[in-house]
């Protein structure tokens, strides 16, 4: 029984970890391609979720149509962000770009709330709910179906992304830009297109994250806070590594669940808020470049 409970805790942690990984992947994509530490990634997920619910509620669109429309909105948003913000900040220091995304987070949050209202919304696009009968009957494990679906979708998404980056022309261009901006520009890769593309992809990843999280606990302001949870994931995985984001997300997800269940009661609970950060911090002291990040040799 003890073992079964532990297993349930780990699985639940893994599935939460998948969510963290999703947000972290959005971060990594943008950071790799433009060196922007995008603080707005969480708000992007909130905004995508709000838009999706809004389209379904206000215009009565069926879920599949609303999702396509939301993808359209996210691409338009990426285009706007490039046009209004990024373009004017080329060659600025990273800290300036980071703070610009802080501003962007505020804008998006205010905007989403004004258009769609700030009350908690229920998101139901027909994803299965409740416990998985198969696991419950067969093994006595209680696992949410939704979370299993989320894990499957996230895995599929990662595979699609991997193919996109490895096989397509624009994927190669993206990797070139990630490697060296100047060199990529000099062989005729348009930075504009690249930026719009990564922000669009990050927007779509945010939509997936928003849908998953929203189906579980409704679309509300707290959704934007998962960005804060994704930060320690990035530290663990390294800022530029997609596999790192995935593994980091899983470690943090499991780590904080296990800690909350087994350690929480002794210190008054609610340690989920900071445990991930402490884990990341301790990790940083030993391996500053992250799990999969490259070791930096400083040159002068």
């Amino acid at each position: 029984m003890e073992m079964l409970f532990f297993l349930e805790t780990v699985i639940s942690g893994l599935l939460t970890g998948v969510m963290y990984s999703l947000v972290a992947i959005g971060f990594v994509l943008i950071f790799k391609a433009s060196g922007v530490f995008n603080f707005a990634q969480g708000v992007l997920a909130l905004f995508a979720g709000l838009t999706l619910v809004g389209l379904m509620e206000t215009f009565g669109l069926p879920p599949w149509l609303a999702i396509i429309a939301t993808i359209g909105v996210m691409i338009a948003l990426a285009w706007l962000i490039e046009l209004l913000i990024l373009r004017h900040l080329v060659n600025q220091e990273q800290i300036i770009l980071f703070m610009a995304t802080l501003g962007l987070a505020y804008i998006l949050e205010g905007f989403g709330d004004i258009i769609w209202g700030s009350d908690v919304k229920v998101l139901d696009i027909g994803l299965p709910q409740g416990a998985s009968d198969f696991l419950l009957d067969g093994y006595g494990l209680y696992v949410e179906r939704l979370e299993v679906v989320a894990a499957v979708i996230a895995t599929a998404l990662v595979i699609v992304l991997a193919i996109f980056f490895q096989k397509t022309r624009i994927g190669r261009a993206l990797r070139a830009v990630a490697d060296d901006h100047q060199a990529a520009l000099s062989i005729g890769i348009s930075l504009r297109t690249i930026w719009i593309t990564v922000w669009s992809v990050a927007g779509i990843v945010a939509l997936v994250a928003g849908v998953m999280w929203g189906s579980k606990s409704g679309i509300q302001f707290s959704l934007s806070l998962i960005a804060l949870k994704a930060l320690p994931v990035l530290i663990l995985g390294g800022f530029t590594s997609i596999p790192g984001a995935i593994v980091g997300g899983l470690i943090i997800g499991v780590g904080e669940k296990v800690a909350e269940v087994y350690l929480g009661p002794f210190v008054g609970g609610a340690i989920e808020n900071w445990f991930a950060y402490m884990l990341a911090l301790v990790f940083l002291m030993f391996r500053p470049q992250g799990l999969f990040g490259e070791k930096i040799i400083e040159r002068v």
């Binding site: 600025q92 802080l102 709330d113 004004i114 804060l228 530290i235 900071w274 940083l284 400083e298």
Partner: protein
């Protein structure tokens, strides 16, 4: 035409290194001081003190603190909210444990406690840089607030989990608690902030300031001319946190009178102070004041114009405020990354020639 340095020759290095090198600046500053100390206290009322002047002064102090760390030393911190909290809780514990203790000493001790905590969380800065460090400071933010929330010792085991400030006097004048007069709280805060602002200005134009800026601009080169990175960064963390801690103590004791960890010292507070130094100007003491003034006044003006003027619902106005704040931040970053302080300098440059074009 009236603002220029013609005829004001500097004959010693001392005069060349003064804060105000131009006589007009010195006079303006003096006038400002006379107004702040001699005129404002006679016209001040409760609303003006608690909604405008106290928040402005206290946030300016916190902004100076963060500016020392982020603007001068280049270490991005997102833990300001929690460090304000450390100052506040330290002040609370001190005043309740030692009721006879002079409040000025309480302020200093609160600053010192915060400095120690800040330096502890600054330790990772030896190994990690930039955003990685920012995440480390976030760890401080969440962990510290959690502590204040979970450990009853911090709020003296009371049922609400809140802390509230008992009335205290300085030189026989009541400056904390609900009965304190607005002029008294204002003058006390003004004096404290002014003294610390002068100290900060001196620090940043001396050896410490140059060492911080060297670390900020190029840490490798700094090390090679003999600056020890860890000591220098820790000093910045310590002094910065001291300032933030004093600001936190003032915020809780003199301005708000009561506080609750998650509400008052959350991550929003960290961002607010960060915005102040971005908009005011990174690496500028003057900018810290400008940024604090801007961020304190803007919501008040927005609220007045939108809720009272246009008749919008308060919730909508709040959301509008978010958007406008975001837009302003992006706008400033694009147009003038050095903030209001730089704009102020440009205005002064223009004034030198005015009304002639060249």
């Amino acid at each position: 035409m009236f603002y220029r340095e013609v005829g004001q020759l500097k004959t010693s290095y001392q005069s060349d290194q003064a804060v105000f090198t131009i006589a007009q600046d010195r006079w303006s500053f003096l006038v400002l001081l006379i107004v702040a100390f001699g005129v404002v206290p006679f016209f001040i009322n409760d609303y003006f003190a608690n909604a405008v002047l106290l928040p402005f002064l206290i946030y300016a102090l916190a902004a100076i603190g963060l500016n020392i760390l982020t603007g001068y030393c280049g270490q991005l911190s997102l833990g300001t909210g929690a460090f304000l909290g450390v100052g506040a809780y330290a002040a609370y514990k001190m005043t309740t444990a030692f009721p006879e203790l002079n409040f000025i000493i309480v302020l200093f001790v609160s600053g010192a406690v915060t400095a120690a905590v800040g330096m502890f969380f600054g330790l990772p800065s030896l190994r990690i840089k930039g955003f990685y460090l920012a995440v480390a400071t976030l760890a401080a933010q969440f962990f510290i607030v959690w502590l204040f929330y979970k450990v009853p010792w911090f709020f003296n085991y009371n049922a609400t989990g809140q802390i509230s400030m008992p009335p205290r006097e300085v030189f026989g004048i009541l400056i904390t608690g609900p009965k304190a007069q607005p002029w008294a709280t204002y003058l006390f805060t003004l004096s404290v902030v002014l003294v610390f602002a002068v100290f900060a200005k001196n620090l940043v134009r001396c050896r410490s300031g140059r060492a911080w800026m060297a670390i900020r601009d190029m840490d490798i080169a700094a090390e090679i001319i003999g600056i020890r990175p860890l000591q220098t960064k820790l000093l910045a963390f310590g002094i910065s946190s001291f300032y933030v801690g004093v600001a936190g103590a003032l915020m809780f004791a003199v301005w708000l009178g009561a506080a609750e960890a998650g509400e008052t010292f959350g991550i929003d507070q960290s961002f607010l102070v960060l915005f102040m130094i971005i908009i005011g100007g990174l690496g500028s003491i003057m900018g810290s004041f400008l940024g604090a003034g801007f961020m304190v006044l803007m919501p008040i003006l927005l609220k007045q114009s939108m809720v009272d003027g246009l008749g919008l619902a308060a919730v909508t106005a709040k959301h509008m405020e978010f958007i406008i704040m975001g837009v302003l931040i992006v706008f400033f970053l694009i147009v003038e990354p050095h903030g209001l302080a730089r704009l102020w300098q440009i205005v002064k440059e223009k004034l030198r020639l005015w009304p002639f074009p060249h």
